[in-house]
């Protein structure tokens, strides 16, 4: 069970945080198709900073501090990269689909170009000597003690970055839904003309939305590189950004349902790749392995289940009304 939950988190947290990134942008009225590209860029910047600092001989003993630096770097990198989208979508009123597609093309090309120059190889890694994972010993749990489920999940073999990300997720969701700022942001995505008429600076709000989106996607990319790619940035996040886009739509542009959608998807992905080793009720029998179903059936599961759920729930689907439309003062 602990295995199942921990592995689900590996898929779920990057998906969730990047889907929230998409939500911030789209709620402010800008379609952010570039999530994949921003993730790639963020992962690269985060890993690069950790590498630079530890190569300089600093922070070798402070892995957790370095982790925070890496996260911040990834977020700032993602934010800056997303400004390219913001400029084209907001200032130049360009087609947002094209802008996003361009960034998706640009990020892997740029990252690979730079990685080859920096390392002379096609990956850039966090140093092997750094272990960002925390074990039971780090939480003061003795070696011989039997762990309960909570301790197994939260206090052994964990990346603190996951919990930072979850914290950020909750805080930003609250901001989006329960503050004046959040309301203003969302109004820009629903009816920018109305927002403008009550004195909200739509373009500024959209800039903020896209930038927050960029920082979060950058963070998501870094989390993916750290937890799922062994600390390596390779100019690829395995289509995670597009899946996050799907999770965002699946979750109906709403943080709470996005979390649910990400969980469903992550759990299915976990079952798909580890079904032989999931002990559901803890009796030592791996039931799924004994069913004798082809691995491909399990692999299709996450996608098929998403489609089935969508088929039943989509009637209440609401995209932000003004997403994709450039805002113009002159139009009322």
């Amino acid at each position: 069970m602990a295995f199942f939950i921990q592995q689900t988190l590996v898929f779920m947290i990057p998906l969730m945080i990047v889907a929230l990134a998409g939500t911030f942008s789209e709620r402010s009225g800008v379609i952010n198709l570039a999530l994949e590209g921003i993730m790639i860029f963020g992962a690269f910047i985060g890993v690069l900073f950790i590498k630079i600092i530890s190569d300089a001989g600093l922070g070798q003993d402070h892995a957790q501090l370095l982790l925070i630096i890496g996260i911040l770097a990834a977020m700032i990198g993602g934010g800056i990269f997303s400004l390219l989208l913001a400029v084209s979508a907001i200032n130049l009123k360009a087609d947002q689909t094209i802008g996003g597609t361009a960034l998706n093309l640009l990020a892997p090309a740029l990252v690979m170009f730079l990685i080859i120059i920096i390392t002379g190889s096609n990956t850039i890694n966090t140093p092997a000597s750094l272990d960002f994972m925390l074990y039971r010993g780090d939480f003061g749990i003795a070696e011989g003690k039997e762990l309960n489920l909570f301790e197994q999940i939260f206090m052994n073999k964990v990346y603190l970055s996951n919990w930072y990300a979850l914290g950020l997720y909750v805080i930003l969701s609250v901001i989006l839904y329960f503050t004046k700022f959040g309301l203003r942001l969302r109004s820009c995505g629903e009816h920018p003309q109305a927002a403008d008429s009550v004195g909200i600076n739509v373009n500024k709000m959209r800039y903020i939305g896209v930038t927050i989106s960029g920082t979060l996607a950058g963070l998501g990319g870094f989390l993916f590189a750290l937890t799922a790619a062994g600390g390596a940035s390779t100019g690829d996040v395995a289509g995670m950004g597009f899946l996050a886009l799907a999770v965002m739509i699946f979750g109906n542009w709403n943080p709470l349902t996005i979390a649910g959608a990400a969980f469903v998807f992550g759990a299915c992905k976990c079952i798909a790749s580890g079904y032989q080793y999931i002990d559901i009720n803890g009796d030592g029998i791996y039931a799924l392995a004994n069913l004798g179903i082809s691995k491909y059936v399990y692999m299709i599961l996450p996608y098929a289940i998403t489609l089935i759920i969508l088929a039943f729930t989509s009637k209440n689907s609401h995209a932000p009304k003004a997403e994709g439309q450039p805002f113009d003062h002159g139009q009322r």
Binding site: A94, I98, L106, L110, Y296, L310, A319, D328
Partner: protein
């Protein structure tokens, strides 16, 4: 040297022409008549082309800056020298025409059949995936599912072309059957997306992404080395070792060359490019000259308005996706039926890049089918240029991807360029009102205005109709 001369001649021609244009226009304006040039310039399509070319030049220019930035840095054992820079700068523009070096070591240019033929060969599937994205876009659907449709087309084309015995049925007939069955497979696959959109109001982006991966896994399971029902189609010979499905040439099925291999000696080109261009022209006619095409477009610009006009939008949305899927699958068929390409069956972890590249191709051409022919060829040309840069200089291959990404990025500004050209936006504005005139009118020119006017009407519809309209 020839390159330099060509460049100089080109510069003189362009310079002379612009001087002529400026002088005649000034004179004409002063005397109150129009020259042919002014009439030509006033055309909308001309402005579109000029702005697209500007985007391309800007992208290339920034790409050149990238090249300059990294002079001196170490790459694959040797540092990048000024010579590399000069060569790369030439190749990025004229890479397709490079024919090697002369005795002094400078690059020479001419008709390079291999490069140009391969460019057209690579462009063939890109034109079709581009059309796939473009046609769906006209109906207001963002078809990010081209990779999945492409894979289904691949599987269908390969299975049909390899299982029908060629000693019974002539290969040419098999080719046609395989081509058609690929289109059907792709169309059926994409119509899942269309049905979900039309009847269940599921956003097409999400269904596309999901069906992409489902297709990738399904196709892998079909050819799986141990359990797949079609594993007998895997090539067991030494250098393939079950990694690939047989080339269709194994069964004698090959796309005819139609003499194109004489024009482009040594390249992989075949008649597929002609088929692709014909399909593009057909799509242009269907979309722009028929009522069917008009209905498709009107569903895209305003679903409710279309419904008022008696157009069954659900039907047309499904049909539009089916056509898009058929087009993407046709691209796959043309690529894999060529006889010299082979398909890696275990593809469940990655999606074909050609599918995704259809998106920038379509958008670069503003989804105009004729434009897509050129934008796809251009993207393929850039790839060839990148290959030449990699082969002839010390730069790495990603520079060409950076350039094509930049071009797509700048093409998003095509609208702004166009407005500058038509004087709607002055580069140095004097009055503030000017900006407000520059309304975004990119793809949904009428729709955007209609949408606003009809907002009150459509609200009523929405309460009776299902939920949101996306």
């Amino acid at each position: 040297m020839t390159f330099i001369f060509l460049f100089l001649i080109l510069a003189v021609i362009i310079g002379g022409f612009s001087v002529y244009a400026i002088l005649t226009t000034k004179k004409a304006k002063a005397n109150g008549y129009e020259t042919w040039l002014m009439k030509f310039y006033a055309k909308d399509s001309v402005k579109t082309i000029i702005s697209s070319v500007t985007a391309i030049l800007l992208g290339l220019l920034v790409g050149c800056l990238f090249l300059i930035m990294f002079v001196g840095s170490e790459m694959s054992g040797r540092s990048i020298s000024g010579f590399d820079l000069i060569d790369a700068l030439q190749l990025i523009f004229f890479g397709g025409f490079n024919t090697g070096r002369n005795e002094f070591g400078s690059l020479i240019y001419g008709w390079n059949g291999v490069s140009l033929g391969n460019m057209l060969f690579r462009a063939t599937p890109l034109i079709l995936t581009g059309l796939s994205v473009g046609v769906a876009y006209k109906t207001g659907l963002f078809n990010i599912g081209a990779p999945g449709q492409y894979l289904m087309g691949t599987a269908a084309a390969l299975i049909v072309s390899l299982t029908i015995p060629s000693d019974v049925i002539p290969p040419f007939i098999i080719w046609i059957i395989a081509f058609l069955s690929a289109i059907i497979a792709g169309a059926l696959w994409a119509s899942i997306v269309g049905l979900f959109k039309a009847f269940l109001n599921v956003n097409e982006v999400i269904t596309c992404i999901m069906t992409n991966w489902i297709a990738a896994i399904l196709v892998t399971s079909l050819f799986d080395k141990t359990t797949g029902p079609f594993n007998f189609l895997l090539d067991p010979s030494g250098d393939k070792n079950y990694k690939f499905v047989y080339k269709t040439a194994h069964n004698g099925v090959e796309t005819i060359k139609l003499g194109l291999d004489k024009l482009f000696p040594g390249s992989q080109i075949n008649a597929g490019i002609i088929v692709a261009i014909l399909i593009a022209i057909l799509m242009f006619i269907i979309i722009n000259k028929t009522t069917f095409g008009y209905s498709l477009k009107s569903c895209g610009s305003n679903k409710h308005a279309a419904q008022y006009a008696g157009i069954n939008s659900k039907l047309y949305i499904t049909l539009s996706m089916a056509i898009a899927g058929g087009l993407a699958a046709a691209g796959a068929a043309l690529y894999y039926l060529s006889g010299n390409t082979e398909f890696t069956w275990s593809t469940y972890q990655s999606l074909p890049a050609i599918g995704f590249n259809g998106i920038p191709v379509a958008l670069l051409a503003s989804c105009n089918p004729i434009g897509i022919i050129f934008s796809a060829s251009f993207m393929a040309y850039l790839d060839i240029s990148g290959l030449q840069i990699r082969n002839m200089t010390m730069y790495n291959e990603y520079i060409s991807s950076i350039v094509s990404a930049l071009i797509v990025y700048f093409s998003a500004f095509a609208l702004i360029f166009k407005q500058i050209l038509s004087g709607k936006i002055k580069l140095f504005r004097k009055k503030k009102e000017d900006i407000s005139n520059a309304v975004d009118t990119r793809f949904k020119e009428e729709d955007y205005n209609v949408d606003k006017k009809e907002e009150t009407d459509s609200k009523e519809v929405e309460t009776t109709e299902e939920g949101g309209t996306e």
